[in-house]
Amino acid sequence: MDYNLIVPYIPNLRRYARALVGDRDGADDLVQDTLERAVRKFHLWKPGDLRAWLFSIMHNVFVNQLKARKIAPEVEIDEAVIAAHIPTVNSVDVLDLQRALLCLAPEQREVVLLVALEDMTYADVSTSLGIPIGTVMSRLSRGRERLRKLMNGETKSGLRVVQ
């Protein structure tokens, strides 16, 4: 295989991983595992969309990591705790955006990030994550809505956190 085909996608994989995992080291570990797996499985790649293939491998590695760390997709996280760190809508800092992202269920986070950062079509996302397009759209819509609420400092009860 020619590893040089994969190298151009490394920055994109790192950007996505950073947003998905949250911390730099964890994200780069995810990228590293993805690249190594891609090299091992390269013979399975059918010439086509290499980007979608690489992101699908990262998805599998990510899911395995979640399982290994026994981090169950945490949908019912206590948002009040997170929201407390978001003083106002206007003073959103990077840390808060990252925290808000991490409040999303991982499967929603994946869809939102692939669309927002990678500008993927629903079909690409569907291929990368191995889910139907309908599921892509519903996760995207719920993920975006949730992220918006978190960024606006709204808790699950719909109350806005004010100083």
Binding site: P11, R15, R18, V39, L97, V112, A116, L117
Partner: protein, 216 residues
């Protein structure tokens, strides 16, 4: 909502995310991410090249190993026959495995093992009678040895084998291996060698008799 509608409706969210994470795109890529090819891949590739090379070599006639070159590694038929003669002909109690009185069985058995229709020449006009025969290991398969004896106790052996890869088809030839004289010939299906500690003219007469009976 189509991709385009989503992009318009959520431009602010997209911008927020991009502004935060796009700088990662220009971060230097950690050296560890430039993976080296796994070493086994190099070995696998080398193996393929070698196999292809051998294939090409064998497909070009003048690059093939010549029969002469191959023959160096194997023992020529007369030498094999003479050695077998030297081992078994002095044997007093067990010169053969199957005696002449079971000649039908002997011929059937050895023919089956060699996958050849064997004939046992009759040499009584030269004073030699069949003692019997045995199966021997050859270079690449079973070999038959028939043993004859005359009234004075002199013995002859007829060594019958399928041609070895290195054996060239040859007409009636003579070879001297130590004190053993050998007349031999190799045709397409079979190699024969008559060995004995006889003088050349006498062995030649017997060998001619064998040759006439075996080669129609």
């Amino acid at each position: 909502m189509t991709e385009e509608e989503d992009r318009v409706a959520n431009a602010d969210q997209n911008n927020l995310l991009r502004r935060q994470f796009d700088p990662v795109l220009t971060e230097p890529i950690p050296a560890r991410m430039y993976l080296k090819r796994p070493p086994w891949l190099d070995y696998a590739r080398a193996a393929v090249f070698i196999a292809v090379g051998i294939g090409i070599g064998l497909s070009i006639p003048w690059m093939r190993p010549t029969p002469q070159a191959a023959a160096i590694a194997i023992t020529p038929l007369p030498v094999r026959a003479a050695r077998a003669h030297l081992v078994y002909s002095p044997e007093v109690r067990h010169p053969v495995e199957v005696e002449a009185k079971e000649q039908d069985h002997l011929v059937k058995w050895l023919s089956k093992r060699l996958d050849l229709q064997l004939k046992v020449p009759v040499l009584s006009t030269e004073g030699f009678e069949l003692l019997g025969g045995r199966l021997l290991p050859g270079n690449d398969g079973p070999v038959a040895q028939f043993m004859y004896q005359d009234a004075t106790g002199k013995r002859l052996t007829l060594y019958v084998t399928r041609p070895h890869k290195g054996d060239e088809i040859t007409a009636f030839r003579f070879a001297q291996e130590g004190r053993v004289s050998v007349f031999y010939w190799i045709d397409r299906d079979c190699g024969y060698a008559l060995s004995g500690e006889l003088d050349k003219p006498q062995l030649s007469r017997v060998a001619t008799l064998v040759y006439r009976q075996l080669e129609p």
